[in-house]
């Protein structure tokens, strides 16, 4: 009896995808964590990992086909102890995060098997879809042999058999906007939010960071956001009720803390992939992963597990020069932390007004799980961690 490999859930706002490529064929041996397919979603192309070991028996869904989350993509002959190791495929698409175990990502490592992945820019991929061109048949002329918009347009002159153009006329940006709107509407409908904010003096942190970055080689420099991400993860360890999922009528604290980071995409829209096991990583490792994650998010090369894994999210709008953000929770999560810009402000220290670097932290949290009092403690805990960067 072969096992079914289904399209995993891809986060709150994605419930369907189009298979773009398969990296495996019938007969191929696969192991848990291998990227086996690329799926186009409203949030760009996503690498989908398999969550069992075995041999591919049959590819069920061919490239170019649009399918809902939970659809059987392939059949596998599973070795050893079958079904037990396989998480149950999710029949409920939106917001369900049951599918691939987040632990597989760590094993796969940062960049993943990008080497055998078709090199194509997101813009070129978009253009190819508009034109109904088959990108797998193209030769790239861009950096590193990447397929460019020009390559796609040139190839169009040659008539090609192509999978039916899936586009329905709505642009990619519009579709992402629709996906975000649907997830946020659901959030506001279902989650009784409360909001808190606090402005804290982060001068010791910025001083520490400046000194660290002046002494460290360029590859080991840190961004302020990395310190904040680690602080959030550590605070989640100490106070329960902010990192986990609200499902089936109840809250479940996640044993591992995976802080998701909201990444703005240049074409518009945003994604919030997770830095896996955030609390356990030394700062430099966390920073490496953070950097790789943002790069892959913008290149449209995220992994399915990264999108479904976040147990809490940080949205940092500091670079957009706002003082504070009042963030909306992404279900099934129950909390989201916002950070404004780090700015110099007059501040009272020991009865004297002095210029200090300050940051406004905010929290959007779920009243079904916590109250403002605990939320206030949570923000204070984050601020305390941040104030002592040497211990991060």
């Amino acid at each position: 009896m072969p096992s079914e490999f289904r399209l995993p859930a891809l986060g709150a706002d994605m419930d369907e995808g189009t298979i773009l490529e398969w990296h495996v064929a019938p007969g191929a041996r696969v192991k848990r964590g291998d990227v086996v397919a690329v799926v186009e979603t409203d949030k760009g192309a996503i690498d989908v990992e398999i969550f069992m070991d075995g041999v591919v028996r049959e590819i069920v869904v061919t490239p170019g086909t649009k399918i809902p989350v939970g659809t059987v993509l392939a059949l596998l002959d599973v070795e050893g102890e079958p079904a037990a190791a396989v998480p149950p495929p999710s029949p409920t698409p939106v917001g369900d995060i049951s599918a691939p175990s987040p632990t597989t990502v760590g094993e796969g490592g940062g960049e993943g098997p990008s080497g055998d992945r078709l090199k194509i820019s997101p813009a070129a991929r978009r253009r190819a879809r508009e034109l109904g061109a088959d990108v797998s048949a193209l030769k790239g002329t861009g950096p590193g042999g990447a397929i460019t918009v020009e390559d796609v347009e040139k190839a169009r002159a040659i008539p090609q058999p192509s999978p039916q153009p899936s586009s329905t006329g709505a642009g990619e940006g519009d579709k992402m906007r629709e996906a975000i709107a649907a997830a946020m509407s659901r959030s506001k409908r279902e989650i009784p939010h409360y909001y808190l904010s606090t402005t804290v003096d982060v001068t010791p942190t910025t001083d520490w960071l400046t000194a660290h970055n002046a002494a460290a080689p360029v590859t080991q420099r840190l961004l302020f956001a990395a310190l904040l991400i680690k602080s959030i993860a550590l605070a989640c360890r100490e106070l329960k009720g902010f990192s986990g999922f609200h499902r089936d009528g109840g809250f479940e604290e996640s044993p591992a803390v995976h802080v998701g980071v909201a990444v703005a995409l240049r074409g518009g829209g945003l994604v919030a992939p997770a830095i896996m096991d955030t609390a356990d990583k030394p700062l430099v490792t966390l920073m490496d992963d953070f950097r790789a994650l943002v790069t892959r998010a913008r290149a449209g090369r995220l992994r399915a597990s990264e999108l479904s894994a976040p147990t809490i999210i940080l949205t940092s709008l500091g670079e957009a020069s706002v003082d504070a953000v009042f963030p909306i929770i992404q279900p099934p999560q129950v909390a989201i932390v916002g950070a404004g810009a780090v700015v110099a402000r007059p501040w009272v220290v020991d009865g004297q007004v002095v210029p200090r670097q300050v940051l406004t932290l905010s929290l959007g949290a779920d009243h079904r799980v916590t109250d403002g009092r605990l939320g206030a403690q949570f923000l204070a805990r984050i601020a305390a961690k941040l104030a002592d960067p040497g211990s991060l």
Binding site: G142, R221, A225, L265, R266, T295, E319
Partner: protein, 80 residues
């Protein structure tokens, strides 16, 4: 490396660290930040790429001097 080669190389690195930027649209005199929403992550990635590909270590205090294609070329000339 002459100025032209340097500009071409920098442009390559920009599109490498920011694959969603179309190299043909880069305006040399305008800040990357204003053109492409470059943020601190992009700047750090750019500094890492300059170090890896051109062997130039740019201290954080000099990041402002990498703000546009023109400024980069200016800064890198004599350092590569």
């Amino acid at each position: 490396m002459n100025r032209e080669e340097l500009a071409r190389r920098v442009l390559e690195l920009v599109t490498e660290i920011a694959p969603d930027v179309d190299a043909t649209t880069v305006i040399p005199g305008i800040n990357f930040r204003d053109q492409f929403d470059f943020d601190s992550m992009d700047t750090l990635n750019f500094a890492i790429a300059l170090h890896r590909e051109l062997g130039v270590e740019v201290p954080e205090t000099d990041y402002a001097r990498l703000a546009s294609l023109d400024k980069c070329v200016e800064y890198l000339q004599g350092r590569t």
